[in-house]
């Protein structure tokens, strides 16, 4: 009997689907070949991470299945996936470009302790006491200033300068609802106290501080002269500086009584019940090596190295002169969800 054509179409579609499924199964090597692969969820910019990952693959022969987030999601996609996949984790290593979400995942029992030998000379302040995560390659929260618009003005030197009448409507920061700005403001709660932080945040609204959707946006506005200065991260500042824009950097609150500059490290961790724990450890050792950190420090993002052995390396910033803000990252990670709810009431209206 002749098969009717529509049935043939349906048959063809089913075949295509099965072929695609089969192909995908072929790509996946969580079975026997699994010991030679590792799944990496990477929130660091793909452009910076990809060459490092390729080098690791060449050196070790381990296939890294790297999955990235899109910048607009600001790590939300990967963190959410880790949470939703916890019943059957498929990620081995999480390379986060900030710390708060990592601490939050650790607190929820989603990360596995691993004391990497590569991290031996990274200061304890940047390592989880239980070794569920380790920090590397930090960014700092700084002011980017447009040097042309600063003429005739005293440069800002303190976070409180955002509230000065002189800069009303002419300084900016990202909305403290995502990324490093959220981490920064959460840190302020524990460093200067709840009352003063709320005073600061209300002052920001009252002084018509230009609230942008992200740090890179604020950097672009300052370099173009649309805003005189504002909060951003060192990597954004350095991109503008490298491209020849008239900008400079200020590490704020550096005087004796000042609270100093907040460092926000990248963090690397292995997932609890990771499918490939052995290769995961090898990858973590590689990412945490001084060699990788040095390359990140020399890249366009000018990450700040944390390895003691790299303290004296040549760097765009005078690392020895920066006064670091004393914070407990565990507290930031524990508080960030609750603070976020409060910040939404203030800034998401």
């Amino acid at each position: 009997m002749q098969t009717p054509p529509l049935a043939r179409v349906l048959l063809a579609c089913s075949t295509i689907f099965l072929v695609a499924t089969a192909t995908s199964c072929g790509n996946d090597s969580s079975g026997a070949a699994g010991k030679h692969e590792v799944v990496l969820y990477c929130a660091l910019d793909q452009v910076h991470a990809e060459p490092l990952i390729r080098e690791f693959e060449e050196r070790t022969g381990i296939d890294v299945r790297a999955e990235y987030d899109i910048e607009a999601h600001k790590t939300v996609g990967l963190v959410r996936r880790i949470r939703e996949e916890q019943g059957r984790p498929r990620c081995d290593v999480f390379w986060n470009n900030e710390i708060a979400h990592t601490v939050s995942l650790a607190n929820d029992g989603l990360l596995m302790p691993y004391d990497s030998p590569s991290a031996a000379d990274i200061p304890e302040a940047f390592r989880d006491p239980e070794r569920r995560w380790t920090g590397l390659a930090a960014r700092a929260r700084v002011f980017i200033v447009n040097t042309e618009l600063m003429q005739g003005h005293e440069r800002p030197s303190s976070m409180w300068d955002l509230l000065r009448e002189e800069w009303k409507g002419n300084c900016g920061m990202a909305r403290p609802l995502t990324g490093t700005t959220l981490t920064h403001v959460t840190a302020l709660y524990s460093v200067i106290g709840e009352e003063q932080t709320l005073e600061y945040l209300r002052g920001i609204k009252d002084n018509e501080v230009n609230l942008t959707s992200g740090n890179a946006t604020l950097m672009r506005q300052v370099r173009e002269g649309q805003t005189a200065w504002g909060w951003t991260d060192t990597d954004d500042y350095w991109v503008a500086k490298s491209d020849g824009y008239p900008v400079d950097v200020v590490f704020p609150d550096a005087d004796e009584d000042g609270i100093g500059t907040l460092f926000i490290p990248n963090t690397v961790s292995i997932l609890a019940n990771a499918p490939h724990p052995d290769t995961a450890k090898q990858l973590v050792d590689y990412i945490l090596s001084a060699e990788v950190e040095e390359r990140l420090a020399k890249s366009r993002s000018a990450q700040i190295p944390l390895h003691e052995s790299l303290r004296t390396m040549e760097h765009p910033f005078d690392l020895e002169s920066i006064k670091p803000m004393e914070v407990d990252y565990q507290v930031i990670g524990a508080e960030i969800t609750a603070r976020f709810a409060e910040l939404k009431e203030l800034f998401l209206d």
């Binding site: 295509i16 995908s24 990235y68 899109i70 059957r88 498929r90 942008t212 939404k344 998401l348 209206d349």
Partner: protein
């Protein structure tokens, strides 16, 4: 039709399209409903509705005259401008936003409404054109005899109105759900928030998934409130099924208004289509550093070389998803139209396009990330399942509209003559539906090629070209980014272009 076939298609729809949503609803508890209507969130919703209304108004002001003029009048160049006018709908709205904000000082909510209005005006234009083409020639000739062009237009307006309103409702639904345009325009100017920001924010840090799901409900209800009347209106007025002695109307002669009408249509095409493409081409060729054709060629060649694999992935997965979707949609659409009470299923069909993409994506993770389905979840099949789940609704709606216009007596006669259900579907139903079948295929292909927000949550999406493009747009606006956008745009319009070049029938993409 064969009951087994219907049941199979229905189960596939339930699994692909409804299960990811239902699984998320099971995570909602009663306490999650608290704070849903706070003053702040209602304020955000109000702003989003205003933004949607303003952009819809712009879409109507451009789309209704544009659609009518090109469909029914002797405006010069109509045959060329008609397909060009659809291009903004195919373009990812972010592409429009990045090109316009680069050329003009467009900032703030009004700029967002303008971009979204231009992005969605083809919906209004297409429905208006469809309605305008279905006004009986005898009615129009009578009106022309009595009072000339003005009287004819006054007679036609009530008949066109359901078409205009259907397009407007769809444009509104698209606009209120868009997050990329407000986010991007906010990122080059002052920040303003829309309700999608609230949804996104809650997915970010809300450990309670139920609360994050609940946040989406007001926008889902608003979207359904716009889409359900649209579904009903699409069979009213001139959009109703044609009767047997329908006479196609002749083009209306515009007289002295012919060239002003041409100027309007040409300006729309220039502004909405040629402008953004020219800007991308300019940037690909060096942009403000100095445009050269050599630089343009180099940028295109280099981008094609580096992104070939990602382009191929996107093209193959989108095409396979579309090819699977069409026969499945035909069976479901036929059931909707021919089964008693089948039309009650249409609102359910709308659900996958009414819920936020991120909710659907996370529902998909929850549904498929189990040991038994691990091979599917970890592999490329996952992206096909996601595309099918998200976009199967489009061909179903297109085809149910087309099946409704078919006389059921033809199928009954074939059945009496002994033709089986598959043969009836193949020989009686499918042939006159060819433009709708291809239209449904094109819709799934285009939306799958553009899909990011839900797809980014599944592993295979990392290897699609739209993923690469969005990341690169954020980090740089160099010539390679513009070249990549042009390549994506080319492949998005390619199926429609090929059809219009080689097929004799008009592509049918309307529900």
């Amino acid at each position: 039709m064969n009951r087994a076939l219907r049941i199979t298609a229905g189960l596939a729809f339930a699994l692909l399209c409804l299960a990811p949503i239902l699984i998320m609803l099971t995570r909602v508890g009663v306490s999650d409903l608290e704070n849903l209507g706070s003053e702040r969130t209602l304020g955000l919703l109000g702003r989003t509705l205003r933004l949607g209304l303003h952009s819809t108004l712009i879409a109507v002001l451009i789309g209704a005259p544009f659609g009518f003029l090109l469909a029914r009048t002797d405006v010069p160049g109509a045959s060329l401008m008609r397909p060009l006018g659809i291009v903004p709908l195919v373009l990812p709205p972010l592409f429009l936003a990045i090109t316009w904000t680069a050329v003009f000082e467009l900032r703030g909510p009004w700029a967002t409404a303008l971009v979204l209005g231009v992005n969605t005006f083809p919906l209004v234009a297409l429905f208006t054109a469809k309605a305008a083409a279905r006004i009986d020639a005898r009615r129009e000739e009578a009106a022309l005899l009595v009072g000339g062009l003005g009287t004819a237009l006054r007679m036609e307006l009530p008949l066109l109105l359901p078409g205009i309103l259907t397009g407007a409702a769809l444009a509104f639904a698209f606009a209120v759900n868009d997050w990329s345009v407000p986010d991007y325009i906010s990122s080059v100017g002052p920040k303003f928030n829309v309700y999608a920001d609230e949804i996104f924010a809650n997915w970010q840090l809300e450990a309670n998934t139920g609360k994050a799901v609940v946040t989406a409900l007001p926008l889902v209800l608003v979207t359904l409130a716009a889409l359900l009347p649209a579904l009903s209106l699409r069979r009213r007025g001139a959009l109703a099924t044609l009767d047997g002695d329908f006479r196609r109307p002749a083009p209306l002669r515009l007289g002295v208004w012919r060239w002003p009408a041409f100027a309007f249509c040409a300006a729309v095409v220039l502004f909405a289509v040629c402008g953004p493409i020219a800007r991308l081409a300019f940037e690909a060729g060096g942009g403000t550093r100095g445009f050269t054709t050599t630089a343009f060629r180099e940028a295109m060649a280099t981008t094609l070389e580096f992104e070939r694999e990602f382009l191929a992935n996107s093209l193959i997965w989108s095409a396979v998803a579309a090819t699977i979707a069409v026969p499945l949609a035909l069976v479901i659409a036929h059931a909707i139209e021919r089964l008693r009470g089948g039309r009650w299923l249409e609102p359910i069909v709308l659900l996958p396009i009414a819920v936020p993409a991120i909710l659907f994506g996370i529902g998909t993770i929850n549904l498929w990330n189990h040991d038994a389905t691990a091979e599917i979840y970890d592999g490329n099949a996952m992206i096909l399942l996601l595309y099918l789940g998200r976009f199967l609704a489009f061909p179903i709606l297109v085809l149910s509209g087309a099946v409704a216009a078919l006389d059921p007596r033809l199928e009954e006669a074939a059945e009496l003559a002994g033709a089986g259900p598959l043969r009836r579907l193949r020989a009686i139903v499918a042939p006159p539906l060819r433009p709708s079948l291809v239209g449904g295929w094109v819709l799934v292909f285009v939306f799958a090629m553009r899909e990011l927000d839900a797809a980014v949550l599944v592993p295979a999406a990392n290897h699609t070209v739209i993923f690469k493009a969005y990341n690169r747009i954020h980090f740089a606006r160099d010539d390679s980014v513009a070249a990549l956008c042009l390549l994506i745009l080319f492949f998005l319009v390619l199926p429609g272009l090929l059809w219009s070049l080689f097929a004799r029938e008009k592509l049918e993409v309307l529900p």
